[in-house]
Symmetry: C2
Subunit: 348 residues, 2 copies
């Protein structure tokens, strides 16, 4: 079997054939996995593609380089806490960081509709530049295409970073007794975009958590933490991310549901819409699998960083059956499934 | 002044302000330059962006790495001799090769409309994989997004390659007495796309020249040719490419108009539509500036390569006034301007 790889998100369940692309093919769930596995991976199969990461790690003249790309189609373009450009820069920075790479350089591609206001483009580009400075990366190349009105704007970013020799952070590396840490509260990005798009409020305004994670990762590595897995719960949320890791590492992950940080506005929105916060995207927090013996020290390091004051332990690896279960606050246990398709379309 | 850089194409003339994006902003001419210079470069200004290349060349752990991206929006998706996927792979391979880099790894991003036939996606992906094999590169990471019907599909590729130590191939390096070589006939890609889109024939069917150029570049470098400039005449054609080089190197370039290879179908199409073949895009040939003393040897090397059997000398650098002139077959001289905007929209 060719494993889904640096291509975004996936899930290992078979699904029926569809002759056409559905919106759900873009949602990061089972349908996307099916598309990748049946159409895209068989064509591009190669040894570097095979591992299932957020970035590919390639050898360039003896240097280990992480290389990744993402397209951004979020609507609205501007939402509380961010915009399509901020998302494009931080998303690619974070994909690199999740491989343990130090992100260094980005490219930016724009597909713009005829008639798009230059002032909005300027605002997006300014946001990208600001976010790049914050994350310590440089945008060094780009491209602009213009298409008929009605399409776009869309932004693509690609990024490269250096992975230090010997470092191996991968979704395949979760091990029995690993502690599962979470660097912040979940679901804010998905709810922020949805609230602006639908024009609905959920009590308090929820602001996207879009933020770079490379500083956190560097702090953990410099602190000597033996990080096994890093994953940012974007499309498909924590449920998707953990199901991927469970499948790749062939481990059972148990979540302590009561330990999961969810802010009130996200909780209300999920209650109102019948969504599970575990399925809602974040853009500024990460899941980290570390040896249980290092968990407390890792949390101290994370909490010393402004972006991870709320870091906490949310679960552990308890067995070898590839699945994710949650211990509920009332003491029960439930299976945590990956979402099948598109819960919140076009959130990134 | 911040110079347009790895961002595609440009031209140094000032133009009026527009509050909205026009189709012509994507055409590779003066309007695009204006957009880049006023909106994009001021935001992303950095030392690597500053040189005006097809790729940025960055340092990654002591290795010189060329890094580039391009979005593809061509319509129709399939045209004589190629398709959007072939174009996406070869375009990025060629952008890397034009910096003298050995292209190694690509990413692929897809933005797909809901309802897009999976069979067409499979054909595009297969073409990309085949073209990647032909060019000796691997697609190692990717991304898929789905948007509402009516937009896309669009393909983005980014690429990395290694530039050997000491090599400096750049649009700034043209020198007095350089010979200007062209590796093949011009304008086939633009005419092939246009003929299929408009459903018109031009006598004989014109097939796009889409092809990888990295083999040719490697042959020149291995043959010890001191290549000063490489540029593939894509959007904006030979006129745009040479005007860019003239501006960047501050040299006058004289073209021998009668020496320019143009096949009959391209010539007829241009006559019929009132286009100058110098403005029509190619996707499988390159302009190379080499010392006049090495021109004959360079041509022998190029002609030994299947993709450049028709390589020829088409001009030379004759002075220091930044402009491009053509000597006409009747002995006259005319100024060769860069196109202002969109002659043939969405040809790549």
């Amino acid at each position: 079997m060719i494993e889904p790889a640096a291509f975004d998100l996936s899930c290992p369940l078979p699904i029926p054939e569809y002759p056409q692309i559905l919106l759900a093919h873009g949602g990061g769930g089972r349908l996307m996995h099916d598309l990748l596995e049946k159409v895209i991976f068989p064509a591009f199969s190669n040894p570097v593609l095979a591992p299932r990461h957020d970035s590919a790690v390639v050898d360039l003249g003896g240097v280990r380089v992480a290389f990744t790309t993402d397209g951004y189609v979020v609507r609205p373009l501007f939402f509380p806490g961010g915009d399509i450009g901020s998302l494009a820069v931080n998303g690619t920075v974070n994909d690199l960081a999740m491989s343990g790479a130090r992100p260094l350089y980005l490219t930016a591609g724009f597909i713009l509709p005829e008639g798009f206001p230059l002032a909005e483009l300027a605002a997006i580009v300014e946001a990208m530049a600001r976010r790049a400075r914050e994350a310590g990366v440089e945008v060094v190349a780009g491209d602009t295409k213009v298409v008929e009105a009605g399409s776009g704007p869309f932004v693509n970013t690609a990024g490269v970073g250096i992975v230090r020799a010997g470092l191996d952070i991968s979704g395949r590396n979760a091990r029995l007794d690993d502690a599962v840490l979470l660097t912040g509260d979940i679901g804010r990005h998905g709810v922020a975009v949805l609230s602006r798009r639908e024009g609905v409020g959920f009590g308090t305004e929820v602001v996207s958590d879009v933020a770079p994670l490379n500083g956190l990762v560097a702090a953990l590595l410099e602190g000597g933490i033996d990080v096994h897995v890093l994953r940012d719960p974007t499309r498909g949320g924590v449920a998707e991310a953990l199901n991927e890791i469970a499948a790749q590492s062939r481990v059972e992950i148990e979540l302590e549901e009561g330990a999961l940080p969810v802010v009130r506005g996200v909780r209300s929105a999920c209650d109102l819409l019948g969504l599970d916060p575990l399925h809602v995207a974040s853009e500024g927090c990460a899941l980290a699998f570390v040896p249980a013996a290092q968990a407390e020290r890792a949390l101290v390091i994370l909490r010393g960083h402004p972006a991870a004051r709320g870091a906490c332990r949310v679960g552990e690896v308890i067995g070898a059956q590839p699945r994710v279960v949650a211990r509920t606050p009332l003491g029960g246990r439930r299976l945590v499934d990956a979402p099948a398709g598109e819960l919140l379309p076009r959130i990134c």
